[in-house]
C-alpha cells in the first residue's frame, strides 16, 4: 500500500488540513496526524485515504496514474501568446494619489505610441498564432487615443474569438470612444472606490470631474448592462471605506464582482502611501468583514450574488486545477510567454507591475521591444525564478498546489527575490486568503455555503465535504 506524502496545516482549533501534491485535501484531527506520522495508520484510515485518492495498492493502479495527472495539472503550461496588455499612451487626465504607473500629464509629449510602435504592434498581431485572443488597453488613459485602439481592434478581425478590455476612468465618452464601446466584443473596466466622496478624494479631485465620472458610469451601465462593465476599487488600507458603503456602491449598480484591492506599492504610491508596502492584520480583518458582509447580503437578497473576485479565484483554484489564466496567481508564472505588456514606447515588460517598477526607477525589468522581440537574456533570467516549485517554504506548504509566484512583487517590495517566502507580503497575503477560504469551505453556516456554491457556479447546494478523519 502506498500512502501519498501529505502536507499539514492547522485548520481551526482541533482540526488539521491535509493535502497532497495534486491539491486533494481533507480534514483530520490530531490523533490521525499522530497515526500518520508514526506509521500507525489503521485499516479504517487506509480505506478513508483510498476513497480520497490518497492511498493506492500499487504504482500501476488507476489511482496513482490519476494522482500523477493531478500533479501535472497543477503546473501552468502556457501554450502560445494570446493576451496583450497595451499602453497606447501614458498620459492621463486624472492624477490619482496612488497612481501605480506615475502617469504623464495630459499635455506632455512623447508618451504615446509612435507610428513605428503602432506598426510593430500591428505586425505582432498579424503573427499571433492563437485561435482566441484577449487585448487589454491600459494607460495612462487609453481613451485619449481612440484612434490607436481602433487601429488595433481593426487588425484583429481575423480572429474568430477575440475580446478587448478598455481600462478607463470614464471621463470622456465622445463619439470615437463610444464607437469602440459599442462593439459587442469590447468590455469596459473602470475604477470605483466607493462613495462619491471617497472616489473624489482618491481620484477625481474636483466635484465636476466626480459628477462626470458617476454620470458616465450610469450611462454605460444603462446602455450595456452590468455584464459588459466591471469596476475595481482601490483602497487605502489605513483608511478603508465603510464596508456597507462600499458594498452598496457596487450592489446598487448591479455590479456583482468586487476585487478588494489595497493600494499597490508602485508608482506614486511608493512615496505618497509608503505604508502600502505591507498589509497588517487590520487590513486582513477588514477583508474578512467585507466578505462576511457580502455573504450576509447574498443570503438576504438573492436577486444579486456579490463576490470578492480574488477569493472566488482562490476557491476555484482550490477545487479545480487549470485556472491558470489569472496571471497574478499561478505556478509557474512564466515570463513573456502567453502574455506581455507593451508600453507607450514599445518596450515589452513581463507584467504590468514590471512596467510600473521601471517607471518608478526601481529596477528595469524590460524583456525586449515590440519591434525587436523579447526572447532575450533578460527574460531567461527572470524565467529562472518564476516558479515556487522548489522553494523550501512552498514545498512544505499545504497551499502550494493552489498558490502562485510573483517575482515582480518581491522585487517591488524588497528589491530582491531571495527573501524567505514566509517573510514576504505575497506569502502572508495568500496564507491568509487560503486559511480564510478553508474556514469558509468547512463552515456549516447555510449563508456561507449558499455564497460558496454561487461563487463556484454550482446549480444547487455545496456538496458535502464534512467527512473528516
Amino acid at each position: 500500500m502506498i500512502v501519498l506524502p501529505l502536507r499539514v496545516r492547522p485548520s481551526g482549533k482541533e482540526s488539521l488540513l491535509f493535502a497532497n501534491d495534486a491539491g486533494q485535501f481533507f480534514q483530520g484531527d490530531r490523533a490521525f496526524l499522530r497515526r500518520y506520522a508514526f506509521d500507525e495508520l489503521t485499516a479504517e484510515d487506509i480505506s478513508f485515504l483510498s476513497e480520497r485518492g490518497q492511498a493506492f495498492d500499487d504504482i500501476d493502479s488507476l489511482g496513482f496514474a490519476s494522482h500523477l495527472h493531478g500533479c501535472a495539472r497543477r503546473i501552468t503550461s502556457p501554450t502560445t501568446l494570446d493576451y496583450l496588455i497595451l499602453v497606447p499612451t501614458l498620459r492621463c487626465n486624472l492624477a490619482c494619489s496612488y497612481c501605480q504607473v506615475s502617469r504623464a500629464s495630459l499635455e506632455s509629449r512623447g508618451y504615446d505610441w509612435s507610428d513605428e510602435t503602432l506598426a510593430a504592434v500591428l505586425t505582432l498581431i498579424d503573427r499571433l498564432d492563437a485561435g482566441a485572443v484577449k487585448l487589454e488597453f491600459q494607460g495612462g488613459e487609453p481613451t485619449l487615443r481612440p484612434d490607436l485602439i481602433a487601429s488595433v481592434i481593426e487588425r484583429c478581425e481575423r480572429f474568430a474569438d477575440k475580446s478587448f478590455v478598455i481600462c478607463t476612468n470614464l471621463s470622456c465618452l465622445d463619439e470615437d470612444v463610444m464607437r469602440i464601446f459599442d462593439r459587442p466584443d469590447v468590455l469596459i473596466s473602470t475604477s470605483l472606490d466607493g462613495s462619491e466622496f471617497t472616489h473624489q478624494q482618491n481620484r477625481t479631485a474636483t466635484a465636476e470631474k466626480t459628477r462626470t465620472f458617476f454620470a458616465n458610469l450610469e450611462f454605460v451601465l444603462d446602455r450595456y448592462g452590468p455584464d459588459k462593465v466591471s469596476a475595481l476599487p482601490t483602497l487605502d488600507p489605513l483608511n478603508p471605506p465603510q464596508v456597507e458603503t462600499l458594498v452598496e456602491a457596487f450592489a446598487s449598480r448591479r455590479l456583482p464582482s468586487i476585487y478588494l484591492r489595497p493600494i499597490n506599492y508602485q508608482g506614486f504610491a511608493r512615496k505618497r502611501h509608503p505604508d502600502s508596502r505591507a498589509q497588517d492584520d487590520r487590513w486582513r480583518e477588514y477583508y474578512e468583514s467585507f466578505v462576511q458582509a457580502i455573504i450576509a447580503r447574498n443570503w438576504s437578497d438573492p436577486s444579486i450574488v456579490l463576490e470578492e473576485t480574488y477569493l472566488s479565484l482562490c476557491l476555484r483554484r482550490i477545487f479545480q486545477p487549470g485556472h491558470d489564466r489569472h496571471v497574478d496567481l499561478r505556478n509557474p508564472n512564466p515570463v513573456g510567454r502567453d502574455y506581455i505588456v507593451i508600453d507607450h514606447d514599445g518596450v515589452v515588460y513581463p507584467t504590468d507591475e514590471a512596467r510600473m517598477l521601471a517607471r518608478s526607477g526601481v529596477v528595469d525589468l524590460a524583456i525586449g521591444h515590440v519591434a525587436s522581440g523579447w526572447d532575450t537574456e533578460q527574460r531567461a533570467v527572470l524565467d529562472c525564478a518564476s516558479t515556487n516549485q522548489f522553494d523550501p517554504d512552498c514545498q512544505r506548504c499545504t497551499y502550494q498546489p493552489f498558490c502562485g509566484r510573483d517575482l515582480v512583487d518581491d522585487l517591488a517590495r524588497y528589491g530582491r527575490i531571495d527573501v524567505p517566502r514566509r517573510e514576504t507580503e505575497f506569502c502572508r497575503r495568500h496564507l491568509h486568503v487560503f486559511d480564510f477560504a478553508f474556514r469558509l469551505i468547512y463552515s456549516d453556516d447555510p449563508a456561507t455555503r449558499y455564497s460558496l456554491a454561487r461563487w463556484l457556479d454550482l446549480g444547487g447546494d455545496l456538496p458535502d465535504l464534512a467527512v473528516s478523519r
Partner: protein, 358 residues
Amino acid sequence: MIPLTLQARSDAPAPFVTRLSCSQAGGVDVSRLQAEANDTLLFAGDQGLIEIVGQPSAALDGDVVLVDPGAESAHRLLRAGSRHNTLMVTERCDQLCIMCSQPPKKTHQDRFAYFERACLLAAHGETIGLSGGEPTLYKERLLAFLEYVIERRPDLSFHVLTNGQHFEEAEIDRLADRRFRNVVWGIPLYAAEPSLHDQIVAKSGAFLRLERSLRHLIMAGARVELRTVVLQPNWTALDALACHVTTYLRFVEQWSIMQLENIGFARGRWSALYVDPSAEFGPLAQAIDRALLFGVRPALFNFPRCSVPQPYRKFAIASISDWKQKFAPDCCSCAERSDCSGFFEWHPQELLEKVVPI
C-alpha cells in the same frame, strides 16, 4: 426519420464508396448527377452508374455513400452537413448491458477499407463517430485505421464509443502519438461499486478491467469522455459515482450523463430501468454539482430541456442524432427547442405528452 439506407442499383461489379454531387465540380471518387426524373436519380462516376430511388437530389448532395450493387442499396456513411455521422465498426460485443440500445450480433463484416475511403472523402473538419458493438474487438484494425486516416486528414476528428475492456499497457506509447489527439474515447461507467457496474454491463470483472484501461489511457494522455446512462439500479448510487469520478477520473474531458433510449433491451425492461427526471432530479443535481465543484465538465444527453430544473438546463445539450430525433406537438411553442435534445424517435408516446414548453 432521415433514411440512412437508400434503394439503389449500380452496374459496378463490387461495392464501392463515392461522394454524390449535384454540381459539376471535380474531385476523385465523385459521382455526378446526370438526371433526375420520376423519383429516380442517376449518378455517374469512375466506378460506375448509380440509380437511387425515393430521394430528391438536394437531400443527397455531398453525401458519401457505400454503394452495394448486390444488395441493391446505398448506405449513407457520411451525410453532408450532419453532425451525427457514425460508422458502425462491428455488431459484436463482449458486454451485454441491460439497457443496450443495439443488442449485439454474432456475425462480423470488416468494413474498414470502405471507412478509410469514406473518411478521406469527408468534409473538412468533420467529427466522425465510430461505434458498434465493440470497436476495440478489432483493436489492431481500428488503431491502424485511425492512424492511416488522421495522417492523411489531420483536419478530421473521431469519437470512438468503446467499453474500454481491451486497452493494454503496451499500447501506451502508440496511443500517445499526436494523431490520437484527434480521437476522443467515449467510455461508459455506470457505478463506483464494481459489482453494480458489472451487473449493469452483465460481465463480471468488467469494472476492474475498465480501471486498468483507464489507467493506460491516462498514461497515454488520451482524451476520454465518460458516459453514464441513468437507470433505476444506479440512480441512488450517482453521488457515489460522482465522488469516484471527481477523485480518480478528473482527467476526463467530459462526463456525459445520459437518459435511457427506449429501444433494444431497454424496450422490454423500460419499467424496471427508466427514471423520470422531471419527477425527481435530486440525485442527478447532486452528482452534477460535485462534478462542477471539482472541475469535471458535466453534460446531460437525451434530457429534454423541460425535464431539467433551470439551474442545470444549460448542461442539457441537443444530443440526439438528427436522423432519430423527434419532438412533441407542444414543443412548437418552446423557446429552447433549437437547443433541446428532443426525444428519440422511439420514445414512449405517453411521455411526450408531459412536455412543458419553456
